[in-house]
Amino acid sequence: MGRITLDKVSKSFGAVEVIPPLDLTIEDGEFVVFVGPSGCGKSTLLRLIAGLEDVSGGQIRVDGQDATTVPPAKRGLAMVFQSYALYPHMSVRKNIAFPLRMAGLDAAEQERRVTEAAKVLNLSDYLDRRPGQLSGGQRQRVAIGRAIVREPAAFLFDEPLSNLDAALRVGMRLEISELHERLKTTMIYVTHDQVEAMTMADKIVVLHAGRIEQVGSPLELYRTPKNLFVAGFIGSPKMNFLTGPEADRHGAHTIGIRPEHIKVSNDESCIWRGTVGVSEHLGSDTFFHIHMEGQDTPLTVRAGGDVELYHGDAICMTPDEAHIHRFDANGLRTD
């Protein structure tokens, strides 16, 4: 009951084409994350699905029904905004009940659904407060509560965690994932943070300049990125790219290798050599930025927390051949 199909959907603002025609199917119950750098059109795409923007071409279907010209309220979708968009003059109870009130539900049913949503979201003690008296995380939960009570076909999240501090973000990430497990409703989630995408998604849609670069499960994108953009965007720290003789040796224009797939050692029996630049000791891991002869950007390498290497030390690296990604001159994966 929440299958959303985009069929050649495009969007232009005046002469500027923000989203060239794209196709995408979101299955019922799926947690789909739109991820991409800022300005890639991911929020616009979400707003097209929500109906807050009109498409310039193509068709949007919700559960097989053409919804392209259906007004936002009638699409059966609920949205959680980046700024939460709570109504400041209403109590939490009235905020959550607002969509029910607009739908003309009787007071008893409203009260029942609000109480239920408040219980699910741990908001029962705050129902009579105003949004201004709540913390960021609580406001976020109220916004989610307002979406839940409508029992929508799908939830749309527009960068919902970007206004929260780091610790709270991790907590809310879990809460939203748990909510999805419990409700089994389709969720579309927009973010620029690939960690959020990797941790929460069933399916990630990587967008770049309005185009879909790749669609797949988090591990699919991690293991077999289709092109240089996806390879560089997914994974933290970023994948290392090497060109020149090293790439030629692997029969590619560019090769990519993730920091976690390079071993460092002090012995001489290795393929790549370099000198240690900045090292970041996180305790569990250490990330070394290693300067290599013939490469402009330093390589990032992950090592264990107890590797003792310091700035200026000579270092020896062994890439894991099985995890080398090969790309051609157009930046596309070759295998």
Binding site: L52, P71, P72, A73, F81, A85, Y87, M102, R146
Partner: protein
């Protein structure tokens, strides 16, 4: 953190302004109170000594007192109702993206820059004149008999003139209020199934409530003392004699400073009663 020293320095530096303002307020107030208890007829013997509460009794027992209070309240209420309602509508209209927005906004604010006397004269002679006025021509064009506005619908005419002057002020303040509304709130309401009318009622209007309060309070202060519009148009006849105008007539036309001063004290009392009611009704909107 303000230290003891900087706090006393602040007091010292504020002192001239405070003293000036206090003087500005206290001197006229004291003089009004002083004269209101004296029999003072500048052209008929001058200051003739104490009379106790005679002036107060005479002012209230005059047949024009209660009508003047009524006229004042009708004008204030009428202008407030018109400026707030149309101000909200105009603000909504001006908030829409349109071609030439900047120029239109300047044009809308323009009446506020016209002096009250000038605008009243323009209205009286160019619009409301029963023979040559634009309204008269308009009526004749449609075959109706022109109304002599200022005598037949005098209070309504005054309300119209004053509303025209104050509408830009209300519009401007309400427009800035609308513009400060987070568009995501409107979109959220739209997603929540609220049609345009309900979005206005449940989201936009509550958001503007504080601005509306400010408009009402500020306008009331100024409207209680309107004078020029009446002086230029009806001279207080045809039921347009407000309390302010009555005081003016007592002091300058009847040359009775004592009686006028007593009226001034009543005006202060009226203003305070109105303020009290207003703060009860709309003041709670100002609490954060």
């Amino acid at each position: 953190m303000a230290t003891q020293h900087s706090r006393s320095a602040a007091r010292l530096m504020m002192a001239p302004a405070v003293v000036l303002l206090m003087g500005w307020m206290l001197v006229p107030l004291t003089m009004t109170l002083w004269f209101s208890f004296r029999r003072y007829l500048p052209l008929r013997g001058g200051d003739l000594g104490w009379t106790g509460f005679d002036n107060y009794v005479r002012f209230v027992s005059s047949s024009s007192f209660w009508p003047s209070i009524q006229a004042t309240l009708i004008i204030v209420g009428g202008v407030l109702a018109i400026t707030v309602c149309f101000g909200v509508l105009l603000a909504l209209l001006l908030d829409q993206p349109m071609w030439g927005q900047g120029i239109v906004r300047i044009l809308v604010i323009a009446p506020f820059f016209v002096m009250p006397t000038v605008s009243a004269l323009v209205w009286k002679n160019m619009f409301m004149d029963p023979v040559n006025g634009l309204f008269a021509h308009l009526f004749k064009f449609f075959g109706a008999t022109p109304i002599s506005w200022l005598s037949e619908a005098s209070l309504a005419s005054i309300i119209m003139i004053v509303s025209w002057q104050w509408l830009p002020f209300a519009t401007l303040i309400l427009l800035t209020a609308i513009q400060s509304l987070d568009s995501e709130q409107l979109e959220a309401a739209e997603m929540d199934g609220a049609p345009a009318i309900k979005r206005f009622w449940f989201i936009i209007l509550p958001h503007m409530s504080r601005a509306i309060t400010v408009v009402i309070l500020i306008q009331t202060i100024f409207l209680l003392s309107i004078f020029a519009e009446i002086f230029v148009t009806t001279q207080g006849s045809f039921g347009t004699r407000t309390l302010t105008y009555l005081i003016f007539q007592r002091v300058l036309e009847s040359q009775n400073v004592g009686l006028g001063s007593a009226g001034g004290v009543y005006a202060i009392i009226l203003a305070n009663i109105v303020a009290l009611f207003l703060m009860r009704i709309v003041g709670k909107n100002l609490d954060a």
